[in-house]
Amino acid sequence: MNEHEQEHTLSYRFLGMILLGLVLLTAVTVAVSYRHWGFLNVPIALFVASSKATLVLLFFMHIKYEGMVIKVSFISTVVVLAIMISFTFWDVAFR
């Protein structure tokens, strides 16, 4: 096993910057919720939430520094979730 891959230390400063990014994105999503853009509000809220989730996953949860096994299996889980959501809506939309 690659030792470098296993012990990746992130500096406090770097982690702090990720936190700052997350707080800014939260501010954006709350600010957007006070505006009424009708249909667009939901996709924007979900896009911001996904961006925040990506930051948490990549850096706080160290996925960026993991090996292929965890990366591929995580993406597979997201694909399964996407199939679950899209098939449900396929059913709901054409009922």
């Binding site: 989730a53 706080f60 096994v69 449900t88």
Partner: protein, 198 residues
């Protein structure tokens, strides 16, 4: 003979468990999405009943605690035991603040007669009832995860204190951290779905 530890294997095991959690909450989010599709107006009026300030405060508390957990792992990697313990205590306190906020939030809803099977709620429109059903189910299940996460962090804290978790071996702390980040991750989606969809 010295026992070797497969550090990657330990993390893979934790991740497989986290996948099952993602699918669990994913299923509930699908349920939310389908009913939102069916009752958009009732969901909007349900969302207006929730306090955006409380929700935002709780989001910030959880994000900050995720940062302190990640930082405590950095501290242990650098053999800074006291720093790591301090950061863990802050994280557990953040979890507690989150739950106290949640207590007041639920309490306020109960006072307004908005709780499962309440007379006030049963008279409301079906979409409104479903919104609060989902609200209590999802935030309740999430709250349970916060309690479990705090317990795991507390166990890690004790192990750090007793030098059972150290720069050479910190899988327990790392996996508790992963669980805590998952709790944060779920809240990142719960927050806009319930508090910001108006």
């Amino acid at each position: 003979m010295e026992k070797t530890i497969d550090k990657t294997g330990v993390r893979i095991g934790m991740w497989i468990f986290l996948y099952s959690e993602i699918i669990l909450f994913g299923g509930l989010f699908v349920l939310y999405a389908v009913y939102f599709h069916a009752f958009p107006d009732d969901f909007a009026s349900g969302g207006k009943e929730l306090n955006r300030i409380f929700g935002t405060a709780n989001t910030l508390v959880l994000l900050f605690s995720s940062f302190t957990v990640a930082a405590s792992i950095t501290a242990i990697q650098r053999s800074k035991k006291i720093q790591s313990m301090t950061l863990l205590v802050i994280s557990i306190l953040c979890g507690l603040i989150f739950l106290i906020n949640k207590y007041f939030e639920w309490g306020a809803k109960f006072e307004h007669g908005l709780y499962p099977n309440s007379e006030h709620l049963l008279e409301a429109d079906p979409g409104f009832i479903i919104f609060f059903g989902l609200y209590y189910t999802i935030t309740g299940l999430h709250g349970l995860h916060v309690i479990i996460g705090m317990t795991l962090l507390a166990i890690s804290l004790v192990l750090v204190m007793r030098n059972r978790v150290s720069a050479e071996r910190y899988a327990m702390l790392e996996n508790s951290g992963l669980y805590w980040h998952l709790v944060d991750l779920i809240w990142i989606f719960v927050f806009p779905l319930f508090y910001l969809v108006l």
